[in-house]
Amino acid sequence: MNCDGVIRELSNFLDGELDPAVQRELERHLGDCGECALIVDQTKKTVQIFCDSEPVELPAEVRSRLREALRRKMGPSSA
């Protein structure tokens, strides 16, 4: 597998969706190619950093306007 192949399969590799033989081939390439190893590692870190970031809270006034709109829609019997 060459560098282009690693990039094409990068997502499948990170998601553990590669055929075992292809995965071994890719891992062999990563052992020999420092640049591809960095790209794979940094892409994994990128996803992790986004996942770890605290989601911005729904602003209270946005929530309250949503509830008001729902109440109007659902009628007076709703909470």
Binding site: I39, K44, I49, F50, L66, A69, S78
Partner: protein, 207 residues
């Protein structure tokens, strides 16, 4: 290097009581529907923000998505997750608003897959924990800026697959696009975000 899935361990999108809540809401229980709303309002708002890049439009899209999901609740058959069904409504609402502001903006099924070279051009050493070198607010700004520059069609796939942890199939279903389009857009989104972060994290330290 091993292939470990870069996912959080905290995903709990569907709680066990959800089918019962939806059944109650379908039978007219407004409180049950409000409980469903409270579970998903934050996610749907962030999803809409990811697409519209505008707080006012995101609020409108979220509100309309919940109102429409309530109005059409009887049509939800339960053969997919409620969240997937809701996402599809919300994505359409958000895209409608995006197109109003940016008439040249594309539709969801427009191919963004191009033959251009995916190979990253810049690769710098980030050091072991690049994100830890920034204060929380500063890091949040870096991430927001990187995400905002992403094509909304790529951003929505990244959001659903990596942040909301929908499966490839669920993402395809929610967006009404093919599985291969989901995979291709996810790869592009991840690579582009890596490249944007590289400008900050490269050479190991904030400047």
């Amino acid at each position: 290097m091993s292939a470990t899935t870069p996912k959080r361990m905290t995903s709990a999108i569907v709680r066990e009581d959800e089918p019962a809540l939806i059944a109650a809401a379908k039978a007219g229980d407004a409180r049950a529907f409000e409980e469903i709303v409270s579970r998903y309002e934050g996610k749907i708002f962030r999803l809409a923000q990811n697409i519209t890049r505008n707080t006012e439009d995101a609020e409108d899209a979220m509100q309309e998505a919940f109102l429409k999901s309530y109005a059409h609740l009887q049509e939800f058959q339960g053969d997919s997750r409620f969240y997937t069904w809701l996402v599809r409504i919300a994505v359409n609402e958000a895209l409608m608003r995006l197109r109003k502001r940016r008439p040249n903006q594309v539709s969801l099924d427009e191919p963004v897959e191009t033959e251009d070279d995916l190979m990253p051009r810049e690769v710098q050493d980030w050091g072991p924990s690049p994100d830890k070198q920034y204060a929380q607010t500063e890091l949040r700004n870096i991430l927001s800026e990187a995400a905002e520059k992403l094509d909304p069609l790529l951003a929505v796939v990244f959001f659903l697959r990596d942040l909301e942890e929908l499966s490839t199939e669920e993402t395809a279903e929610a967006l009404g696009i093919s599985i291969s389009a989901v995979k291709s857009r996810l790869l592009r989104a991840r690579l582009k975000l890596r490249e944007r972060l590289d400008r900050h994290f490269g050479q190991g330290a904030p400047n």
